[in-house]
């Protein structure tokens, strides 16, 4: 009994330490992201501006412009990471992620289509639209996922093909509607520039509901990883559980796309890093992946704004430049 309890305690301690480190990296990232810009502020001034409403100009810059932007980056990163972790567990495929299943591209297409049809539609509607598009985009890949011929790598290739098809449809729509193309082009690359409290408010409910649902189902994910037969043998209603979890994953990814555009690779990388650090128990993997994903997007945003000031490149580009090599590494290892 004691011999089993001790490693468990150690593992918990290790998980606690890792979580602390990840949260610290996230908080530091948010503070730096908030302090950095045309008007630079030392961290203590940032902290003051965040905590005390003294009506100063600093307070406005920090509270109205930079802080909500950093928050959006963090929430988007966490949502994508959890979505990716759930997708990887459900398909038992290390290459599954919102962008390599067509979910992000589908959500992107739906959002652009809604912009074309009605530029003035309310912002809160966007995640719903994105969800419909994401579900549609993911259908092809997820319906293929259970076939035996379909190796992880083939599934990834199918996802890529689906995504590029949806992306070219999006491009077609954009070119037909020249008026919105400039702003949407940058949105399509994935970015958090100019995001405000309004965007925070739109994504927060989705992130909370989705994240909580994923955590509630974390045990089910562990069981599903054992394979269909074992999961059934353990009394799990696999079909229903799978469907519910898939909806949760698409919902999280779609909400992220709705506010920040289709940022790739976060949902692919974060679960891998978390799995490497704490193993496949999703009760630990999910929170760690979420924190890591959040920190990743926030730090990438910092880089995106620092490269060529005062211009900034979309944060999705920075992440793709980092994530591409990581993806290469995965492709080499897994096939």
């Amino acid at each position: 009994m004691e011999r089993r309890a001790l490693p468990a305690a150690l593992a918990l301690g290790r998980f606690g330490v890792l979580m602390l480190v990840a949260v610290a990296a996230l908080v530091l990232g948010v503070l730096l992201d908030t302090s950095f810009g045309l008007v630079e502020m030392p961290l203590d001034a940032v902290w003051r501006a965040l905590t005390v409403d003294d009506g100063s100009q600093n307070r406005t810059i920090i509270w109205e412009l930079r802080f909500p932007r950093a928050l959006v980056a963090a929430i988007v990163g966490a949502s994508l990471a959890v979505a990716g972790a759930v997708m990887q567990a459900l398909t038992r495929n290390p290459l599954a992620s919102p962008s390599l299943t067509g979910v992000s591209a589908g959500a992107g297409l739906a959002v652009v289509a809604s912009l074309v049809l009605d530029p003035a539609r309310p912002l809160w509607l966007t995640p719903f639209i994105a969800f419909l598009g994401g579900a549609l985009g993911g259908t092809v890949v997820f319906s293929l996922a259970t076939r035996s011929v379909v190796t992880p790598i083939r599934l990834a290739l199918a996802g890529f093909a689906t995504a590029s098809l949806l992306l070219s449809l999006t491009t077609g729509l954009l070119i037909l509607n020249g008026a919105i193309v400039g702003q949407v082009y940058f949105w399509l690359a994935g970015g958090v520039a100019g995001r405000s409290w309004q965007h925070v408010n739109v994504i927060v409910p989705w992130a909370i509901v989705g994240g909580a649902a994923a955590m509630l189902f974390a045990r089910h994910l562990n069981i599903l990883l054992l394979g269909e037969d074992v999961a059934r043998g353990l009394g799990l209603q696999t079909g229903r559980t799978r469907a519910a979890l898939m909806i949760v994953a698409i919902l999280l990814a779609a909400a992220a796309v709705a506010v920040a555009g289709p940022i790739g690779f976060v949902g692919l990388i974060s679960p891998h890093v978390a799995r490497f650090l704490v193993g496949t128990d999703h009760r630990r993997l999910l929170p760690l992946a979420a924190t890591f994903g959040a920190a990743l997007v926030v730090w990438a945003d910092l880089v995106a704004r620092a490269i060529q000031r005062p211009l900034e490149i979309p944060v999705g580009i920075v992440i793709a430049l980092l994530g591409g090599p990581f993806f290469l590494f995965l492709a080499r290892r897994n096939v």
Partner: protein
């Protein structure tokens, strides 16, 4: 025996003539359609008379160069894909999936947006260097005791993603929002606004590349038998393979430098042709060229006429056809080409 061969080459000739007639007819009709529609008879007259009348100028100055470009680009991409699939014995090889297109596109974007003063002929050269570099990177990274078709494709996708990100970074930093549409159009693959100037830049590459490919087509057949048999037959396999791959890269990269990234032509066309006529590459290459030319020609017709005043990229249509076909391909058990 000799008689059979004679009959065969005779019927072959008839076949080619019929095909050429069909392609010619499609081309004439294509030249007639557009915002100003011109009857096929008048198109012929305008072609003979040159740019003297209004119709003549429309046909000669605007539509003819674009039509020729579409056919050349389509043919080049298809041949490039056929060669790559043949020499790697990999049904998933194509200029876009092994990263050549992305590298060539990145180099072209650099030239157009950063080195603005470079003369026109530099563009395909730069694209060639970019395409060759990224192709080599993909091949090296995919190598792990040989190159499996799927790993090559996945590595190609990853390298493509990196290059695309780099392209977007350059575009974001260099392009005003107002020009974004133009950049987007090129990235999606389009012949919008292309004319004689671009045709002249591309032509030497097409002529040399296509001729070289046709002359070496029989070597693809031998390589398909496997390296052991090929060297047993007295072939220097590595040298033959490298020459063929170089031709494939040059064809694809120069096509990309004028038309942007036309998706999936290089994958789908050779595959369909092999399905129809078998794996003899002395036939696969010319038929792929013809089919690629017709496909892009028709796609470009649709792209410029389907909506009245605005034009959509032809690459959109090739993706619409190509992506589902690609999914079908990878869902089959086999991705290795056998003879």
């Amino acid at each position: 025996m000799i008689r059979v061969a004679a009959v065969r080459s005779g019927s072959m000739l008839v076949g080619w003539l019929v095909l050429a007639g069909i392609v010619g007819a499609i081309a004439i009709v294509s030249l007639g359609i557009g915002q100003v529609s011109i009857a096929p008879g008048e198109v012929l007259g305008a072609l003979l008379a040159g740019p003297t009348t209004l119709e003549g100028r429309i046909v000669f100055d605007l539509r003819l160069p674009r039509l020729l470009l579409a056919m050349l680009v389509g043919a080049q991409l298809a041949i490039s894909g056929a060669i790559l699939q043949g020499v790697t014995r990999n049904a998933l090889a194509s200029p876009d999936l092994v990263g050549i297109t992305a590298g060539a596109g990145f180099a072209a974007v650099l030239i157009v947006l950063v080195f603005v003063d470079a003369p026109a002929f530099v563009l395909p050269l730069a694209a060639l260097i970019g395409g060759a570099t990224s192709g080599a990177i993909v091949y090296l990274l995919a190598w792990k005791q040989g190159v499996s078709p799927e790993r090559l494709a996945l590595t190609g996708i990853a390298v493509t993603a990196i290059f695309q990100a780099a392209v977007t970074a350059v575009v974001t930093l260099r392009v005003e929002q107002a020009q974004a549409q133009q950049a987007l159009r090129w990235l999606a693959g389009s012949l919008y606004g292309r004319g004689w100037d671009e045709l002249l830049v591309l032509l030497p590459w097409s002529v040399v590349g296509i001729a070289g490919a046709m002359l070496l087509a029989h070597k693809v057949n031998i390589l398909l038998l496997g390296d052991a048999v090929a060297s047993g037959l007295g072939m220097r396999t590595e040298r033959a393979r490298m020459t063929l791959v170089a031709i494939a890269i040059a064809l694809a990269a120069s096509a990309v430098s004028v038309a942007g990234t036309m998706a999936f032509i290089g994958l789908v066309i050779p595959h369909l042709i092999r399905l129809l006529i078998g794996a003899n590459h002395r036939l696969v290459l010319p038929f792929s060229a013809l089919a690629g030319a017709v496909l892009l020609l028709v796609a470009d017709d649709v792209a410029r006429t389907v909506f009245e005043t605005r034009e959509i990229p032809a690459g959109l249509f090739t993706a619409l056809i190509g992506a589902p076909y690609f999914i079908y391909l990878i869902m089959r058990r086999k991705t290795q080409i056998s003879v």
